[in-house]
């Protein structure tokens, strides 16, 4: 069992927390868990409750859509230093895609319910976390739109 101190150190190593006030990070570490997934292991499934929010330490995961009659359609692959799982912050708190580990993947995960409770109590912490989270979401949306332009299609 990794203690909160150890988890705080692991969180501090992740680029998402660069420059974050130590007290905030320690508070968040109280909701954290150290996890690892084997290659091919499903981390999340579309429609299932989104209970956790993940920071990749090492490894790679794929974000996939389930397309009836096909294997998973991979939307994006994520790697060391990336984060995934925003569904914990938006009702109805359900995953909107599948997540699969592509290789041995080590992550720190935060419990969504625990986080929501802490953010409701401490709005400054909520602002701090959302300020870091929103640019990641915006960038991902921007890139998804780049993908939709079908840049390499035959003219």
């Amino acid at each position: 069992m990794v203690k909160v101190d150890g988890l705080d150190k692991l969180l501090a190593e992740h680029p998402f927390f660069d420059g974050m006030d130590e007290s905030y990070r320690k508070t968040l570490a109280g909701c954290a868990r150290n996890e690892r997934f084997k290659p091919g292991e499903m981390i999340a499934q579309e429609g299932k409750p989104a209970e956790r929010f993940y920071f990749i330490r090492t490894g790679a995961v794929s974000l996939e859509f389930h397309v009836p009659g096909h294997d998973g359609l991979v939307l994006e692959t994520l790697h060391d230093g990336d984060i995934f799982g925003w569904s914990w912050m938006v009702e109805p708190y359900e995953w909107s895609y599948d997540i699969c580990a592509l290789e041995l993947t080590r992550v720190i995960s935060l419990d969504g319910a625990c986080l929501r409770k802490k953010l409701k109590k401490d709005h400054a912490l909520g602002f701090e976390l959302y300020s870091r989270f929103m640019p990641v979401m915006a960038k991902r949306l921007y890139r998804t739109r780049q993908q939709l332009t079908d840049m390499f299609a035959k003219k």
Partner: protein, 283 residues
């Protein structure tokens, strides 16, 4: 190819094509193929990034980048995507058939200026073909350069050009290669996502690097944005532009790009030279 053996001293008459036989034809992708031509003696000298005009008599002429090894002037290589009447006619030619060739034309990748720097090659789709001579040059003179990074994006795994060669380059300890595709199913073990995404993970010194980019203009625009955010100077970013080139010597005006001609002033430009033009919508 008499009188056309160096890029510094090209043709006696640049409008007269030489007839060169196809020595090899290879399918690359469903819509993309490579032809190798025998330039005869003393070979065909070119600089990485330059292009030739390929003529199919009775059909027309198209500009095609040279995609072979500049250190091997005995083999004139072009990788071509079948997108129109002339490229379709080229796709139907067989070994032994002849192609009219004018060239080499245009500006080159800054492989000499890159000496002593990190080099980052970023290609999208068939844009890897015009960059391959630069890659060959760097690999053949590896000790002259710092970190060497090749980033490549394609539409899908089936559209990845030069797959075997990418794997060979990736196998070298002195070269970092990363490939991504826009769409894939689970059978693809590589990255999925846009090319700029690869830039974040690549290790190079933005203040001591030359970047060479070729691909669809929209891909180059997103890529440049990422590089500038990473701290790159606009003078150190080079792009290859594509326009409808007809005469290849700046006379006809078909490829005019603002005050420049792509055929004569380009196709390779420093981003700082054309930044304003790239912002003009519809140009």
């Amino acid at each position: 190819m008499p009188d056309q053996t160096t890029s510094d001293a090209p043709y006696a008459d640049p409008m007269v094509p030489d007839l060169l036989p196809i020595t090899l034809r290879r399918k690359e992708l469903d819509d993309t193929f490579t032809i190798e031509l025998d330039p005869g003696k003393p070979g065909f000298h070119f600089q990485p990034g330059q292009f030739n005009m390929l003529y199919v008599f009775g059909v027309g002429e198209v500009p095609i980048s040279i995609s072979g090894d500049p250190a091997n002037p005995g083999k004139l290589v072009h990788t071509i995507r079948n997108v129109g009447a002339v490229t379709d006619a080229l796709s139907k030619l067989k070994k032994g058939d002849q192609v009219g060739v004018r060239g080499p034309f245009g500006s080159a990748w800054p492989v000499i200026e890159a000496d002593g720097h990190d080099v980052v090659i970023i290609a999208g789709g068939i844009g890897l073909a015009p960059l391959r001579p630069a890659i060959e040059h760097v690999l053949a003179n590896r000790e002259h350069f710092g970190r060497f990074v090749i980033l490549y994006g394609a539409r899908s795994p089936e559209d990845v050009l030069y797959m075997k060669q990418l794997q060979q380059w990736r196998g070298r300890l002195d070269t970092y290669v990363d490939v991504t595709v826009d769409h894939a199913d689970r059978s693809w073990a590589g990255n999925v996502g846009v090319v700029p995404r690869l830039i974040e993970r690549a290790d190079f010194d933005p203040h001591h690097t030359k970047v060479m980019i070729c691909g669809p203009e929209i891909m180059m625009r997103f890529t440049i944005k990422e590089l500038v955010q990473r701290g790159m100077e606009k003078d150190d970013i080079f792009v290859s532009m594509e326009r409808n080139m007809k005469c290849a010597i700046g006379h006809c005006g078909h490829c005019q790009f603002g005050g420049k001609f792509i055929c004569k002033d380009g196709p390779v430009f420093a981003y700082s030279q054309i930044e304003d033009l790239l912002q003009v919508r519809g140009l």
